[in-house]
């Protein structure tokens, strides 16, 4: 069975991102006949002789009317070597929250720029989001190369500026690939272009098919947010009590000791149950039910963890991607969702905001507005067992939620992963 790559795409308005995704689907023969007929009909109505491939992915009526993508869309396609889940995220500045959403589950991000305009503020913002959420690998697709006569120097200048940005955000050289493409005509998307004889790198699809997928780390410290307590109280299972959840990090084995957080009691894993039978071990990504040797009154919201995990804290610093029209101000009372636990939170100081133009931090910005990324101090009503986001993303991430409307306000990352490395240290390495 082929393995799976989860990727996200991001680009500015009019960079041709929907066309690129449409091209990828079309040239990998992932478009079925009735979908293509619908696109051809709509293209003809719009007065276009050639099918407009962006219509394959622009799903909502308002998007088609405005000719832009508003909402994150998920696409599924497969080649003989790999299956792909593609989060197609819109580029307009007011939709940056969707880029954050797509990036949160991606192993690779494809960023688009228009060859005529090069790296623009939106590109910097997207790179900062990808860097913040630690998307492991990046691809820059320099699109519309046909409109700059496939000029090598234009491409090289844009590629150099981009890799300068990714280096500043801490990306290793081999984690970033740049490719000159024309999504409209198909150059270097799936098929190698005759128009770029000077380009020796892979086509976009070649790269997506061959890039290593970093599998989950089975050796990370075990983390298991308890979702639900399974208590059948049936004739067959009168006294059964199991703790259902998804292994968020690492591995757990029958007989191993675990801590129950935030309280800190210790117990052992008596058994690992699934519908299909008992397991000796459960790994990150598996949904299982754990039976424990002691009845400690554990409920939804508890975190089972390998002994020696960080001490739960009630005050901490975090990096926030602010996603809501309503700005964040110091003193705000919000709900914080970490794993399966929801607690109350009060925002202390908003200490920094990222300037996406320079990738430097402004101090004491006073507030965070929609699409801002910054840092703040938080106080929570009950101690939380947090990991630094850089160490264990699953237990180093959280949501901030509006207690009245219920809206998701921010993506939170424990610690300060936002800080770009200063120029001086870059020059030394």
């Amino acid at each position: 069975m082929p393995d799976l790559l989860r990727l996200a795409t991001a680009g500015s308005v009019d960079d041709g991102k929907s066309t690129l995704v449409g091209r990828l689907l079309y040239d990998t023969k992932s478009v079925l006949a009735d979908q293509m007929e619908a696109v051809e009909r709509a293209s003809a109505r719009g007065g276009s002789a050639e099918p407009d491939l962006s219509l394959l992915v622009d799903g909502l009526r308002s998007e088609r009317e405005q000719g832009i993508t508003i909402d994150v869309a998920y696409r599924y396609f497969a080649t003989p070597t790999r299956s792909f889940v593609l989060a197609d995220t819109p580029g307009h500045v007011q939709y940056t929250r969707n880029t954050v959403t797509g990036a949160s589950t991606a192993s690779l991000a494809v960023l688009l720029v228009d060859a005529r305009h090069g790296v623009v503020e939106q590109t910097r913002r997207h790179v900062a989001v990808m860097g913040l959420l630690r998307v492991p690998r990046l691809v820059l697709a320099v699109n519309k190369m046909d409109l700059v006569d496939f000029d090598e120097n234009t491409y090289a200048r844009i590629a150099k500026e981009f890799t300068g940005l990714t280096e500043a955000l801490g990306y290793a050289e081999d984690a970033v690939v740049t490719i000159p493409v024309s999504a409209r005509h198909g150059d270097n998307v799936v098929l190698r272009s005759g128009n770029t004889p000077w380009f020796e790198g892979p086509t976009l699809l070649d790269h997506l098919e061959s890039v290593p997928v970093d599998g989950p780390d089975h050796d990370a410290p075990f983390r298991f947010p308890v979702q639900y307590v399974v208590r059948p109280r049936t004739e067959a299972h009168p006294d059964y009590r199991g703790y259902a959840g998804l292994v968020a990090a690492g591995t757990v084995r029958v007989g191993e000791e675990v801590e129950v957080l935030p309280e800190g009691q210790r117990t052992r894993v008596e058994g690992i149950d699934t519908f299909d039978g008992e397991l000796e071990a459960a790994h990150v990504g598996q949904s299982v039910v754990l039976r424990l040797t002691d009845d400690l009154g554990i409920a939804r919201g508890a975190l089972l963890a390998a002994p020696g995990s960080p001490e739960p804290v009630s005050e901490f610093d975090a990096t926030l991607a602010w996603l809501h029209e309503k700005p964040l101000r110091p003193g705000a009372r919000l709900l914080l969702r970490h794993g399966t636990r929801t607690v109350q939170a009060i925002v202390g100081a908003v200490t920094h905001r990222l300037d996406t133009e320079t990738l430097t931090l402004d101090e004491d910005p006073g507030e965070l507005a929609i699409n801002d990324m910054g840092q703040a101090s938080l106080v929570v009503s009950e101690p939380l067992p947090l990991d630094p986001y850089d160490a264990i993303a699953a237990t180093g991430s959280f949501l901030l939620v509006d207690p009245q409307a219920g809206d998701t306000l921010a993506a939170g990352l424990v610690g300060r992963p936002l800080v770009a490395r200063p120029r001086e240290t870059l020059d030394e390495t």
Binding site: V85, Y228, T234, L279, Q286, S287, R337
Partner: protein, 301 residues
């Protein structure tokens, strides 16, 4: 002992769906599974049984009955309810037609009429979470659907109110009267569904497999003869070997010509198909370019 390996895509999809169902059980008071007897809703029941084992499924199931049913599917529905010990709630379109709350459409199709009985049933039983078998690969408007999809007190889907979904943290908070539609199969494709059905040995209604049936052509699809108005004048009845790729209202769910009588043969057919599941078999999706988007806004799935 059967430890799924991490490279196994079906195991990953199963694990994700089970995670979603347990989140709903943990966060909501009165969830329900929308159950038509079709393959996607049958998968939801199968996954729920796995998610809460050894406890029984902690949700009832709700069937919106258009009255234009395939007999095989209703018999199947009742067998599943019996086998899993489920509580069955039924919302009948026919009741609404009988007392005049709804009127039969000129084209005889009852699929668009399901929305009102569905929303009434959700309100009557005070369901705050409703599981659906929708998948993002089905249709363009569905490609943008969240796993947790917030609906207003009128059951409506407002694109601008949908919340960003980050990592696997699902936010199910809602105001009184609002509810959340939940789609555990969001990331599955039609092929994934069939491969999983084969792997797990999930039973489906017999009409998913090739059988001989009297059908007539309408709108480029093979519809079966029945009380829902067919065949009309000039629509010639033929006897063909067909199967269904989706199961819905009999008046607008088309069969495809097929000789795939076994799971393996169906899998081969799905792999080779050049038409989407809905494009091939659902007249209701062909009504307009934005048919699904419009119906979703009204409160349909």
């Amino acid at each position: 002992m059967s430890a799924p390996t991490q490279t196994d895509q079906l195991a990953a999809l199963e694990s994700e769906a089970i995670h979603v169902m347990r989140e709903v059980a943990g966060e909501f008071d009165r969830p329900v599974i929308l159950f038509s007897g079709g393959k996607d809703s049958m998968l939801l029941v199968h996954l729920a049984a796995k998610a809460f084992w050894p406890a029984p499924i902690p949700f009832p199931v709700l069937h919106v009955d258009t009255g234009h049913n395939f007999d095989e599917v209703i018999a199947f529905r009742d067998r599943v309810v019996e086998r899993y010990g489920l509580t069955l709630e039924v919302a009948r379109v026919q009741d609404y037609l009988d007392d005049g709350r709804l009127a039969e459409r000129a084209d005889g199709t009852r699929n668009p009429l399901q929305t009102t009985p569905l929303l009434d049933a959700i309100a009557e039983h005070r369901h705050d979470a409703v599981f659906g078998g929708g998948r993002r690969d089905e249709e363009r408007a569905r490609a943008k659907e969240r796993v947790f999809s917030l609906r207003t007190a009128f059951g409506q889907w407002e694109p601008s109110r949908q919340r960003p979904e980050l990592w696997n943290l699902y936010n199910g908070r809602h105001k009184p009267g609002e509810h959340v539609r939940v789609f555990p199969l969001s990331n599955w494709t039609e092929l994934d569904v069939w491969r999983y059905i084969a792997r797990e040995g999930v039973e489906l209604p017999s009409i998913y497999y090739a059988h001989t049936r009297e059908v007539f052509a309408r709108d480029g699809m093979w519809l079966t003869s029945g009380p829902w108005g067919g065949p009309r004048d000039g629509e010639e009845v033929r006897t063909l070997s067909v199967r269904y790729r989706t199961v819905g209202d009999g008046s607008c769910t088309g069969a495809v010509e097929s000789t795939a009588a076994t799971l393996d043969e169906v899998l081969d057919e799905v792999r080779e198909s050049r038409l989407t599941e809905r494009g091939a078999t659902r007249a209701d999706d062909r009504l307009s370019e934005a048919a699904m988007e419009d119906r979703k806004r009204e409160g349909y799935f």
